[in-house]
Amino acid sequence: MKKTTRRVPIKDFGSATDVLSPLEPGDIELIHGEDKPPKFREMKPETKEKYDFSLDGISALNLPIPKTKEEEEAIVNGFLRGIEKLFQKENNWTFLMPTTLSNEYCMQCNTCNEACPIYTESGRMDIYKPNYRPEVLRRIIKRYFSKSGKLLRKWAGADLDLNWRVVYRLAELVYRCSLCRRCASVCPIGVDNALISRELRKVFSQEMGIAPENVHKSGTVQHMKTGSTTGMTSASFKDNIEFIEDMIEEKIGRRITIPVDKKDADILLLHNAGEYMAWPENPAAFAILFEAAGLSWTLSSEQMGYEGVNYGVWYDDVQFARIAFAQIQAAKNLGVKKIVIGECGHATKGFITIADRVLVGDAAIPREACLPLLEQIVLSGKIKFDPMKNNFPVTLHDPCNMVRLMGIISPQRNILKHIMPEGQFREMPDAGTNNYCCGGGSGFAIMNSQNFPDWRNNVACRMKARQVLEAFKDVLDPSIPKYYCAPCSNCKGAARDSMMEHFGFRKKYNIIYGGLVELMVNAMVDIPKPFISWEEEF
């Protein structure tokens, strides 16, 4: 095991160094086919003077460096106000118990450390340990909110004095955790360090107005303003549907009319709207399958009815609740019996489990993941599949939100059993609830500030890339086409940016990526030509 020699004691977290713990590319373990240490974009001096890069040389938040003492004080005071509110039931009933317990009972055993792909793939940087940021929080709480800490100071563990650097570094640090909760799954006590990251994100957003631009301003705010985080309006959504109908006709030789705004349908299908823009094959495949299975279903063109994402899950309870309620309203307006969420992990978890205890009364419309429904379609025999049409190696990614956080494990595997020839499907190491994040979780896939994409591709996505290569290790020869199946939009976004563009898996190994429904349609007997093509970009 590689050990870091660059220690960062927690008491030094606010030290006046330019960069507290710079990433050392040489410490990062290379993956197969990588012949030199990863590169991180060097920022221009004027950018570094303006924005805070003082945690690790990376900026996810574009935080402007304070210029006056007053600005510095405002940062510290805002943060302290937010921490106080985090432990008040009026302000945080939503997660008060989990936050309180995780704050109080970490035994500092470090069991969580090796479970974290970001820590291990960074060259084991202290600051990326899952228990590092909660420990920073604990010491701040002890120092500023506990009598023992005020009295005994470092002897009570209250050895970290707050300054603007501590606040900004912590704000950046909570965006170096993808909230995959793998750390929580190994903790003997049950402490959830990922939750602490999320709760701190909440303090920064709900109290200080600090959040990644792609997640907040052009994320949840844009979502509520236009109807989609992509900026897609209702009118352009309808255009996209027409385009997808054309595409289906071209691919399968017959036209399908995709139901939009059909009243009283059984199912409202809610996709991550990114699919319409980046991977239209995915909603097309859903339409083909649902039509062939004879389901009563519809899409909604109402604002808040065609975008399934809810970025609030990652950082802000208020934005989360606003979006969830608005999506429910759209479903109610159509009179559907239930909502089925397409291949999008955070949307599935957010809408089904987290929103479960917000949607009271008649807002509680049943909501389900698409995977069991797809399994039912396969097992019903309504559609004939020829497994030999998928006669190429496939590996399956388990999106954290659907698998570790919802326990949806078998439907996707049962589907693959029925639509692939034996021997072509291979599990990744640590498949199932022990899976690793794609590297794009919790907003990383859409965050593009400054040099953050370099960090995401080189650090956060590295473990998944390593796993994919391991799964395909006996068929890496580029003459063999391979398919990385990721039934989640954010995971596909990470695959596109990291595996394909950054690590070059398409070119080097002929690996493409896509969802599960594309594989299903590809195996349909009724479809004359392959739905999946290694010649076209996905």
């Binding site: 302000n91 009933w93 500092q108 929580a184 190994v186 208020v318």
Partner: protein, 312 residues
């Protein structure tokens, strides 16, 4: 010495035990009274058994959730008794943590058996290895085995953890002074108990006699300095524990049963729904620009999409 011993073994011990019970109950109640929170379950959830998550089924809302007490108890016992997760994911720490916890469990069992044997003594039944009753003989040797075994295991585990905290750079980085205080206390607790057993009370008859005195409120004096030390460690432990993170045995219950394995769905007209409806009327004071001032949770959500649109 005798008056100090009397005070520690008598009044202080009563107080410490009562204080510990009170504080444990208070801690439990404090967490139990916290508001219901949003779902944050983590899978696999053992009581779902081999069937797994209901989310794997179509129309799951109408399906009665599966509950396997056997699988839940199996997972709980593996975790509680053997510290399974540490064994799998952190064997180095498990080498100390398992014997430490085994020491605590055996020590608790020792206390129960010791109390029973003290009650026997009060009832006029002599507890010794030569007793004619098999049950009494079992009790006698049970006290010795659980006590000596527990103290030795606990001491060994505490020392291993102390060495790790000092020698292992990763652990040292996170270890605050409180971690060392906690371990020092455990070493004192198990070390003093083991010393008293080895050097002063090999059959635990003195401590049994003392417990009998406490049970009969006869306020006995303690003759042995080592037993005074042993009792001092118990008082210190009981008085300190409620203020430390070693209370995680209470926290762990809530972690598992109220967070990680809490898969209870919202039902119409349920107590949960009523509670949540109340929480939604809490007035929040978050002050970021996108939060509506002085609004309740309901106010924040009402007509949010259009209002968010108007703002820009």
């Amino acid at each position: 010495m005798s008056s100090v011993g009397w005070f520690i073994g008598g009044p202080l011990m009563y107080f410490a035990a009562a204080f510990f019970v009170f504080m444990t109950a208070a801690t439990f109640i404090k967490y139990a009274k916290l508001p219901r929170h949003l779902r944050w379950d983590l899978y696999p959830v053992p009581h779902q058994g081999p069937e797994g998550s209901k989310y794997q089924k179509v129309d799951f809302a109408g399906i009665k959730p599966h509950f396997s007490l056997f699988h839940e108890l199996k997972e709980m016992s593996q975790e509680m008794l053997f510290i399974k997760k540490a064994y799998i994911h952190n064997p180095k720490v498990w080498l100390g943590s398992f014997p430490l916890h085994a020491g605590i469990y055996l020590g608790a069992l020792w206390l129960v058996l010791l109390t029973v044997s003290a009650l026997c003594e009060l009832g006029g039944i002599a507890v010794s290895g030569g007793a004619s009753s098999l049950v009494v003989r079992f009790l006698h040797f049970g006290v010795i085995i659980t006590g000596a075994g527990g103290f030795a295991a606990g001491l060994f585990g505490s020392l291993v953890l102390l060495v790790l905290r000092i020698a292992d750079e990763d652990m040292r980085l996170f270890s605050d002074p409180v971690s060392f205080v906690n371990l020092a206390l455990m070493i004192f607790l198990f070390g003093s108990s083991l010393s008293a057993w080895i050097f002063a009370d090999s059959s635990f008859s003195l401590i049994r006699h003392h417990v009998a005195g406490l049970l009969s409120f006869s306020m006995p004096t303690v003759g042995s300095g080592l037993i005074v030390l042993q009792l001092t460690s118990y008082c210190a432990f009981l008085l300190y524990l409620p203020f430390s993170r070693m209370m995680h045995f209470v926290g762990k219950y809530f972690f598992y049963h109220h967070i990680l394995w809490d898969d209870e769905m919202m039902k119409r007209n349920s107590a949960m729904e009523n509670d949540i409806a109340t929480y939604l009327h809490y007035k929040m004071t978050w002050s970021a620009p996108h939060i509506r001032k002085d609004g309740t949770w309901v106010d924040q959500v009402a007509d949010s999409a259009s209002k968010e649109g108007e703002k820009k």
